[in-house]
């Protein structure tokens, strides 16, 4: 049922550039898809494994720079750039993740935050590699099989394929026994240990896969912007991913996907009032958290549970 809905939604989204010729709407669609991928990756570590990782912002940035540098400095293709973005992030995540995950949950949050800030510093200050605050402009449009993705519509389709691929992968993972084990570890880690499950490999795998996907998403996104500079590591991005996950309902796969699409479009829908736009957006978010502290999915779940309890009485 959910899967069928997702399939229909994916097909409708694929048709977006044929429905509208507005580059503005297509542009919003591109951002929405990429942000949704990054949010889904955050949902894997935070929603499923229960690890509040701010390192996602760092991975997003490393992914962007890795992809841009592969093309501009090392003469590779866009596709190689995305591949490097994913691989490099996966490797870095394994390396920094192991010590981070050995600490308690609070220390983990702080060390991931520090990681993100460090990446920002590197992006700004390692001028010989990243060109510092000037950034790397004029990223060329990707091309493959004699096709150049140089219009917003063409780029949109590329992003659509990327999104469907990564979301499918994440869904296969989260709906498997591995996803269930992550949830179990989040809920009661001592119990998983008493049942012969070693939590570390699971957490580390979730962290690294999430990093790889976030990095790839960052790589695609900077080619959408056509430029990368240290503002690519603005906290705005982390905030957006986190809001999508929390409003959707951390740990609920499809709710976060839906929330990603909805919340990316929401600020644009509110453009009828340019002055109050972000204020209204803020009010909606705060109100949503008051009414549904566990996100939309959590709220629906509570209602189901209540009716189940009533039925058992």
């Amino acid at each position: 049922m959910k899967l069928a809905t997702a399939l229909v939604a994916a097909l409708v989204l694929a048709a977006l550039p044929s429905i509208t010729s507005s580059n503005y709407i297509i542009g919003v669609g591109i951002s929405a898809l990429i942000f949704t991928v990054a949010a889904a990756a955050l949902n894997l570590v935070y929603g499923f494994a229960g690890l509040l990782s701010f390192a996602q912002l760092g991975f997003w940035g490393i992914g962007g720079y890795a992809a841009a540098l592969t093309v501009m400095t090392f003469g590779g293709s866009f596709w190689q750039g995305i591949l490097w973005a994913a691989l490099l992030n996966g490797a870095i995540a394994l390396l920094v993740g192991y010590p981070m995950l050995r600490t308690n949950r609070h220390a983990f949050v702080i060390s991931t935050l520090t990681f993100a800030l460090l990446v920002t510093l590197v992006a700004r200050d390692w001028v010989s590699l990243t060109r510092g605050p000037l950034g790397i402009p004029n990223l060329p449009p990707p091309h493959a099989f004699g096709l150049r993705f140089d219009t917003p519509a063409k780029f949109y389709w590329l992003v659509w394929v990327f999104t469907v691929t990564t979301i499918s992968f994440l869904y296969a993972l989260c709906s498997s026994r591995i996803g269930r084990t992550l949830v179990a570890i989040k809920q009661n880690e001592p119990l998983t240990r008493a049942q012969g499950i070693s939590p570390m490999p699971y957490k580390l795998a979730a962290f690294a896969l999430s990093a790889a996907i976030t990095g790839a998403a960052g790589g695609v996104y900077c080619f959408n912007l056509r430029i990368i500079d240290p503002t690519f590591l603005d906290f705005y991005y982390m905030q957006t991913f986190l809001i999508i996950v929390i409003i959707g309902g951390a740990g609920s796969f499809w709710a976060v996907i839906a929330s990603g699409m909805a919340l990316s479009a929401l600020p644009e829908v509110l453009r009828f009032s340019d002055d109050l736009r972000m204020i209204i957006y803020g009010v909606i978010l705060v109100a949503a958290m008051f009414v549904m502290p566990a996100g939309v999915a959590g709220w629906l779940h509570e209602r189901r549970l209540a009716s189940m309890r009533a039925a058992l009485r």
Binding site: V183, Q195, I197, R309
Partner: protein
């Protein structure tokens, strides 16, 4: 009969306090062994050390002939020792079915690749696990909650789920940490019967419990701890009448107990 679990010279101290001060005992295969003692006698520390949740200062733990001393908890579980917890632990947001399935998943041959790709090996493992889960859920009498979230169950029901989960992978020994503490008295009898049935089917139990009546009706052998040392050990009947046990446990001599009983009558 041979010992499934044998511990020797267990020592553990916290900031100078000897929680365990050289405890030695054995649990025979196919038996129900009780571990009792007053508060602070070291029962919980003992099973935390045996199951790998705490590090021992000294001593050895041997499980089915192999030395598991100092191994992490998940390795000891994989070696065949499953335990429950004093404050009941279940996965509240997962169904009863999932609660039971997770408890056994580490023991089947399916790898991560099998799980991700849903291979035949994985599907067979899932089927076997489901059969076992259905069997156990029937034993604990919670069939109608099989698909329901464990969070909606009562405290006593959760204790039963924790027991069933511990039995899922056919462990060599099950260590129960206060299985009836906080459980409605009318349910205690049910748990007693279930444990007896399981024992007759060949399961080995080590039970830590405050409820002396529960222990003495159920256990073949009882070990009594006091202040981190083994006070005595024997059959339920022997323990029941041992003056040292009464004194340690109730703070009374047999004469005082008798006087009290006369007074009550």
């Amino acid at each position: 009969m041979t010992a499934i679990l044998s511990v020797a010279g267990l020592r553990k101290s916290y900031a100078g306090v000897h929680a365990l001060d050289g405890v030695t005992f054995e649990v025979e295969g196919g038996s129900i062994t009780g571990l009792i003692g007053p508060n602070g006698s070291g029962k919980s520390t003992a099973i935390d050390c045996i199951s790998g949740f705490q590090r021992l200062d000294a001593g050895t733990v041997t499980l089915a002939g192999s030395d598991v001393t100092g191994r992490p908890a998940h390795r000891i579980a994989r070696a065949g020792l499953m335990r429950t917890f004093q404050t009941v632990r279940v996965y509240d947001r997962l169904s009863l079915a999932d609660n039971l399935a997770i408890a056994a998943q580490q023991f089947d041959p399916a790898t991560w690749a099998d799980e991700f790709l849903r291979t035949r090996r994985y599907r067979q493992a899932v089927e076997a696990s489901e059969r076992r889960a259905r069997e156990l859920v029937e034993l604990i009498g919670l069939e109608r909650y099989y698909g329901a979230e464990a969070g909606i169950l009562s405290y006593g029901q959760k204790k039963l789920v924790a027991l069933a989960a511990a039995l899922m992978p056919h462990p060599k020994i099950v260590v129960l940490d206060e299985p009836v503490a906080g459980v409605n008295p009318s349910r205690i009898r049910e748990i007693e019967v279930a444990l007896q049935q399981l024992n007759e089917a060949g399961e080995t139990f080590l039970i830590v419990e405050h409820n002396v009546e529960f222990i003495t009706t159920l256990c073949h052998r009882v070990i009594v701890l006091e202040q981190g040392r083994k006070l005595t050990e024997g059959t339920a009947a022997e323990i029941h009448t041992d003056p040292r046990v009464l004194e340690a446990y109730l703070g009374m001599t047999p004469e005082m107990v008798e006087a009290e009983m006369r007074g009550a009558a």
